[in-house]
């Protein structure tokens, strides 16, 4: 047993590796393979990459046309850029809303802290899809929000909110806010409060101490929260299709259209691979930030 390397520790660490191999690497390779093939009307709807040309010769045919197509057709570029823009704005909004929430939860008394945290994660007990549908009821022309505003006399005719960019931002910020709050809270909660007393002792007013001590020390939490919101928001498909303008260009929607409407699996795969490449950069940055924190770069 020992000689084969089958120790308990090795077996335990093998589990996540196997998991990632089966459910991440293998599907990735399949998608990568499809992205290099050519569409055809068949089952499955693409040509195999590898085929026998004679009894003794295997031929591998890589088709880079799908990627070239992504670059040539500016629809894809615009969809990518728009997705990144929407995800970026949503992330900033989540940070601006989530930071004060996480901060006040972290500074409240331990008993109320648990109740408040429960309320942050409570929406997860309902299906994500249902919650997004609920926003249709709130935002539509004779929905809750318009009716309330009209009843209050603030507006006299309904504001068109559903199927606008505004509705998409509302949906994304609402859905992803807990992913911003949780890592920020975890970071702010473990902060040593005597550091703030020390800052105050050395001449800082409370807001100066916040800017000079609390904010810099919460950078790992800010990075984690931003990436947890930004990465899924870039590929978001459900929220823009339900709440957004049908003409809104989002890469998740483009991918859906290619795959289900056009049945062009190779182009859809190429879109997915390109999206992954876009996202690998912030993911790697996140990893580095995490390593720095674990390795003693930011803690005392």
């Amino acid at each position: 047993m020992k000689r084969l390397g089958l120790t308990g520790t090795n077996l335990v660490t093998a589990v996540p590796y196997l998991w990632l191999l089966l459910f991440f690497l293998v599907p990735f390779v399949i998608v990568l393979k499809i992205s290099f093939s050519d569409a055809q009307i068949s089952m499955p709807p693409y040509q195999p990459l590898i085929h026998w040309v004679s009894e003794k010769a295997l031929q591998i045919q890589l088709n880079f046309g799908n990627f070239a197509f992504l670059v040539e057709d500016n629809l894809y570029w615009r969809a990518y850029l728009n997705s990144i823009f929407v995800a970026g704005v949503s992330t900033v909004l989540c940070l601006l809303i989530g930071y004060p929430i996480a901060y006040s939860i972290a500074r409240s008394s331990p008993s109320t802290r648990n109740i408040l945290m429960l309320m942050v994660v409570l929406p997860f007990w309902t299906s994500f899809l249902l919650r997004v549908y609920a926003w249709i009821g709130i935002l539509k022309n004779n929905g809750l929000l318009n009716n309330l505003l009209m009843w209050l006399g603030i507006i006299h005719e309904p504001i068109h909110m559903l199927q606008t960019d505004f509705a998409v931002y509302v949906g994304i910020v609402y859905s992803y806010l807990p992913f911003m709050i949780l890592p920020l809270y975890a970071n702010l909660e473990k902060m040593d409060l005597t550091l703030l007393e020390a800052a105050s002792d050395l001449g800082c007013r409370p807001w100066q101490a916040f800017m000079k001590i609390t904010v810099p020390l919460s950078v790992p939490g800010i990075i984690a929260g931003c990436l947890l919101v930004f990465i899924p928001a870039v590929g978001e498909f459900v929220i823009p299709s339900l709440l957004g303008d049908p003409g809104m260009l989002m890469i998740g929607k483009v991918l859906w259209t290619e795959f289900f409407n056009n049945r062009d699996w190779p182009v859809a795969s190429a879109v997915a691979i390109a999206l992954l490449m876009f996202l690998v950069i912030p993911i790697m940055y996140y990893q580095r930030a995490q390593d720095a924190e674990a390795g003693g770069g930011l803690h005392r």
């Binding site: 040593d192 020390a198 105050s200 001449g203 000079k212 005392r300």
Partner: protein, 381 residues
């Protein structure tokens, strides 16, 4: 017990001078947390350039008192003056006071240099002035070559000095130190004690130190304020506190002591005689006590002030016989635990002056304990 290095220097006793103006004045300060009284009607004067130690067990209110001096807590009642200015309602960031925290509270995201410069930047001083003062301070605490390090790259002793430098660089009128040496190991602690005193004397800053360690208080302080249950029990120099405790609590808190309960049988202005049930002869003390005859009092005798002998003393008082129960050899001295006929255990320490003695007192031997008439302290509470 270590002796204060101050004893060898020129006399520094502003508290004995009736014309001296106190630098810090704590006036009838009370602090309550809900129903709990953390500090109970404390009045205290601290003089310029003193190292004043607030000594007491945990929960006695010493840290709360310190935090009120820093401004982190507001007194429930009473006032605090520093250099004649009423500080009671002034927030910490506007007080001419700095604090060295027990946990050091060094900013982990800043280098040593940035930590020390933090308070000066807050004052808005010129860059060159900040750089000069930071360098000077880092030299003083011998951290010059560590200026660019991050706190997690430093040892415990180095971090302690960063904290000290950071709190001293603003030239505060008053430096508050919360258990400054508690996190250091014993060797380093002793060394650092003397370094602290040297730095304090170089800069002439007034120190208020909170500690639960009596040895630390004895070594560092010009005066000690001993606290118990939120009250100041006794204020005095280390030797006053040790040799003239005002109560049983003080005598037992500082060092070890043998406490003999007895009745006052003779009470003259120049001497008293106390009859103790535990002892074979009465205790004779050569100073008067202000208490009624027949009252219950305690005679406190320090272990090092009791002599051991095989000969029965010729005097009519101040001795008793006992049996040796335990001997602990400590190197510099030996501790003897002796059992009186009443069953009470008495602690005696003897310096090991000679390297080799053939005829040492040994286990189960009956010996005579005696003491000089100046040795016992009589306390009435």
């Amino acid at each position: 017990m270590a002796t204060s290095p101050r004893a060898t220097q020129q006399k520094f006793e502003p508290w004995t001078d009736p014309d001296a103006k106190p630098y810090v004045r704590i006036e009838k300060v009370t602090k309550k947390f809900g129903d709990f009284v953390a500090v109970d009607d404390v009045t205290l004067d601290i003089y310029k350039k003193e190292i004043f130690c607030l000594l007491g067990a945990s929960g006695c209110g010493k840290t709360t008192l310190l935090r009120m001096l820093a401004g982190f807590e507001r007194p429930t009642a009473g006032r605090i003056f520093i250099d004649g200015v009423d500080m009671t309602a002034i927030p910490p960031y506007e007080r001419p006071v700095n604090m060295m925290f027990q946990s050091y509270a060094i900013f982990p995201h800043m280098t040593v240099e940035q930590n020390v410069a933090f308070g000066l930047k807050q004052e808005g001083l010129a860059k060159s002035e900040i750089a000069r003062r930071v360098t000077e301070m880092l030299e003083l605490v011998k951290l010059g070559q560590f200026a660019k390090r991050k706190p997690h790259q430093l040892s415990g002793g180095q971090r302690q000095r960063v904290a000290l430098a950071r709190s001293l660089v603003k030239k505060p009128k008053l430096l508050l130190l919360d258990e400054p040496l508690a996190a250091l190991d014993k060797k380093l602690r002793e060394h650092t004690q003397f370094e602290l005193i040297n730095i304090q004397e170089t800069l002439g800053v007034t120190f208020v130190v909170v500690t639960h360690d009596q040895e630390e208080a004895m070594t560092l302080s010009s005066r000690i304020g001993l606290m118990n249950h939120g009250e100041i029990v006794q204020v005095g120099t280390p030797s006053e506190i040790y040799e003239y405790p005002s109560s049983r609590f003080v005598a037992e808190f500082i060092g070890s002591v043998n406490m003999f309960e007895g009745r006052l049988v003779e009470d003259e202005p120049s001497y008293v005689r106390i009859q103790c049930d535990d002892l074979d002869t009465p205790v004779y003390v050569d100073h008067g006590v202000s208490s009624a005859p027949g009252a219950t009092v305690w005679a406190a005798v320090r272990p090092e002030k009791i002599l051991l002998g095989r000969e029965k003393p010729a005097t009519p008082d101040n001795w008793t016989s006992a049996v040796v129960r335990d001997i602990a050899y400590m190197g510099d001295m030996s501790i003897y635990l002796l059992k009186l006929d009443s069953g009470k255990i008495v602690r005696v320490t003897q310096p090991n002056v000679y390297r080799h003695v053939d005829d040492r007192v040994t286990w189960d031997e009956r010996v005579y304990l005696s003491w000089h008439s100046t040795s016992p302290v009589v306390v009435t509470k």
